[in-house]
């Protein structure tokens, strides 16, 4: 059977700041929201044509994307925390607030 992916949607994960992989060390946790799923149902004529022109080599050696991406449309507010060395940090545009196929 096929791997059937859910359509693009907002998911969330509770992680510690250290696990964000941004280099901060802190045991505080944040709610990390991200976009996941397929955008098959959001393909447009643009994508089909772009794909076709790339395959016919009407467009070559260019960095193009011929399928919609499941990406954040808006981001959550900034998040702040006290790190292991008692210093305060604030990170913006860390977590997605809304997702969509673009």
């Amino acid at each position: 059977a096929r791997a059937r992916h859910k359509p693009c949607e907002l998911r969330e994960l509770e992680v510690s700041v250290s696990e964000l992989g941004l280099g901060y060390e802190s045991d505080e946790t944040v709610l990390f929201r991200y976009c996941s799923g397929t955008c098959e149902a959001a393909v447009r004529s643009y994508d089909l044509s772009l794909k076709s022109m790339r395959s016919r080599r009407k467009i070559r050696k260019e960095k193009i994307r011929a399928r919609p991406c499941c990406r954040p449309l808006a981001y959550d507010d900034d998040v702040s925390f006290l790190d292991a060395y008692n210093r305060y940090y604030t990170v913006n545009e860390l977590s997605a607030k809304e997702c969509g196929c673009v």
């Binding site: 059977a1 059937r4 959001a42 004529s45 089909l48 395959s55 994307r65």
Partner: protein, 607 residues
């Protein structure tokens, strides 16, 4: 009295001397004793932007000769052209007609014709500079209309009064060329043209002659020919008549009992024309009334009258006449129980014809047959695969002759069976004449104890409340297949045969979707797609079962976006034609694309 033309045209140059004759207007008689008097009412002349006192043009009351009473100078020209943007200034005046000397108050009701004078901002050209065409004829087309059944009379003069007046050194002569036996005479001495007898439009309605002009100057001779057309105006002088004498017809009401149904048609001819412009006046002229004192008949039937122009060919030439069609129409839907026979008479009356036989009686032999509401079979049996999914269409059921019925509203109902198994229901589209049986509860199909289910089907005629019943047996068959995970709920989502045929979906009959392999190039109705049942989807119809859930057959029912080469179905519903493979995400978009684009969907730089 009447004018042989609706309007006249003539050119007027600057500084032409007073007294210059411009135009000779004729009148034709309605009766022999009439004498024509011409008059310019209110003496107004209308230019593009305003109406002025007419100081320049007068008409001879007895001869109809329009002439310049005062020369038109440049001042006058400018004044009459104010507000006119075109290089050529046109003014208009009305000439009125009466059979006795004029009183001013008669002007409003008198017959009139319009004279359009093109004022040319230049002096009259020398005769030598005029072409033969200009010497012989003006820009006005020589086209006249003469009423039928009216006395003879002169209706035109070929020579141009102004040319005749100014170019007297030239010899201009005319001839009227025509076929034999035409009722017109040309008088060489004064170039007048006469109609010599009563015309009969029903014999001939158009005469096409040729006016030939010869200009002689010394030894030289020039000739010009222009068409000279006479149209004969119609009068209502012909009674209605029946083609091949048919004045009666049968009208049988059986299965088609719907309001508006045309039961029978009878035709009446009339040699006169009946203009469809303006429509209503002609319809009122030719009436068709049902002659009855039975209120039921008046309530249940009506007569519709349509007419169109046909051509008669009395003696080789074509003349227009009218075909009137009287249709006996059901004014209301008739109950299935109604059963009677009678003769219905319609009186057709040509209200404007002054003479005997102005009306004709038509007879419709009406017979209304009863129709029975019954199922042809005593019982019906359908088999259903246990792997069928919800909205699987099992079959259609309806009473005898159901497809022939019109205006008879039969509703179908399944009476709940005794057993606990109740997998099947029935639906009926607004326009459908049958009931559609479909799986409504697929879980019952999976239960071993449900093997054979008995239903009672009831059909009821809404109007008469008459109803009938029959037995319906649903036999479950087939062994249960393993349920595939990760299968979508709609077959239409699958883009390839493999993923299509390994999954089920709403509406499947045997537990698996069916792949329809299309063929053909470009955008074709035979596109490839995954469907619950090739027989019903896609078939261009979003039927009542498919319409219950967008996931059953979006190929027929989607009203959303269709991306890729496609053509939409009737009423913008569904995919009528598509390019390559069409697949849909129910309640979202559908796609039609060629599958040959096998290249890897690379996100990064494509080498």
């Amino acid at each position: 009295l009447y004018f042989p033309r609706k309007e006249y045209l003539e050119n007027v140059y600057i500084d032409e001397p007073a007294g210059t004759p411009l135009l000779h207007i004729h009148a034709l008689k309605d009766s022999r004793e009439e004498g024509a008097h011409f008059h310019l009412c209110q003496n107004r002349i209308i230019s593009r932007a305003r109406s002025h006192e007419n100081n320049w043009f007068q008409i001879k009351e007895n001869t109809g000769l329009l002439y310049l009473s005062k020369s038109l100078d440049r001042e006058d020209f400018n004044m009459l052209s104010v507000g006119n943007w075109m290089p050529l200034s046109k003014v208009m005046l009305y000439v009125f007609l009466s059979s006795h000397p004029f009183q001013e108050k008669e002007c409003d009701s008198a017959t009139r014709t319009a004279v359009f004078l093109s004022l040319i901002n230049a002096t009259a050209p020398a005769c030598s500079s005029l072409t033969a065409r200009q010497l012989c004829f003006t820009e006005m087309d020589l086209s006249f209309h003469i009423k039928e059944n009216k006395p003879p009379g002169t209706f035109h003069q070929l020579q141009l009064p102004s040319v005749h007046h100014l170019c007297q050194n030239l010899s201009i002569s005319y001839k009227l060329l025509a076929a034999e036996g035409v009722p017109f005479r040309y008088n060489e001495s004064n170039t007048s043209v006469r109609v010599t007898q009563h015309l009969d439009r029903e014999e001939r309605e158009r005469y096409e002659l040729i006016a030939k002009c010869t200009v002689r100057e010394g030894l030289r001779e020039m000739q010009v020919e222009v068409p000279f057309l006479v149209n004969v105006l119609d009068e209502d002088d012909s009674p209605p008549f029946l083609p091949n004498g048919t004045d009666s017809a049968d009208a049988v009401v059986e299965f088609n009992r719907k309001e508006g149904t045309v039961l029978s048609t009878l035709t009446v001819y009339d040699a006169d024309t009946t203009p469809i412009y303006p429509l209503e006046s002609s319809r009122r002229k030719y009436t068709g009334t049902i002659i009855t004192d039975d209120p039921w008949i008046s309530e249940m039937f009506r007569v519709e009258h349509i007419f169109d122009e046909i051509h008669f060919s009395p003696n080789g030439s074509q003349v227009r006449g009218t075909r009137h069609e009287y249709k006996l129409v059901l004014n209301k839907s008739i109950s299935v129980t109604e059963h009677r026979s009678f003769q219905l008479d319609v009186l057709v009356n040509d209200t404007e014809f002054q003479g005997p036989e102005r009306s004709v009686m038509l007879h419709f032999n009406v017979s209304i047959l009863p129709v029975s509401i019954q199922f042809s079979n005593i019982t019906y049996q359908f088999t259903v695969n246990r792997n069928a999914e919800r909205f699987a269409q099992i079959g259609k059921i309806c009473i005898e002759n159901c497809m022939k019925f019109r205006g008879v509203n039969i509703t179908y109902k399944l009476l709940s069976p005794n057993a606990s198994c109740y997998p099947v229901s029935i639906l009926q589209g607004r326009e459908d004449k049958y009931g559609s049986l479909y799986v409504n509860d697929s879980s019952a199909l999976r239960r071993p104890e449900c093997k054979e289910i008995q239903y009672t089907v009831q059909a009821t005629d809404k109007q008469s409340r008459k109803h009938t019943k029959t037995l319906l047996t649903v036999v479950l068959e087939g062994t249960l297949l393993k349920k595939e995970e990760d299968c979508p709920d709609s077959c239409a989502i699958s883009k390839h045969r493999a993923e299509c045929e390994e999954c089920g979906g709403l509406g499947v009959l045997t537990g698996r979707c069916q792949w329809r392999q299309g063929s053909g190039k470009g955008i074709t109705t035979n596109y490839s797609t995954c469907t619950p049942s090739i027989k019903t989807c896609p078939d261009g119809i979003c039927d009542v079962v498919e319409g219950r859930d967008p996931a059953v057959c979006p190929q027929d029912c989607t009203s959303g976006n269709i991306i890729g080469g496609h053509g939409k179905g009737i009423g913008n519903l569904g995919i009528k034609s598509g390019h390559g493979i069409c697949y849909c995400f129910p309640r979202q978009n559908c796609y039609c694309e060629k599958d040959d684009v096998k290249e890897q969907l690379c996100d990064d730089v494509c080498k």
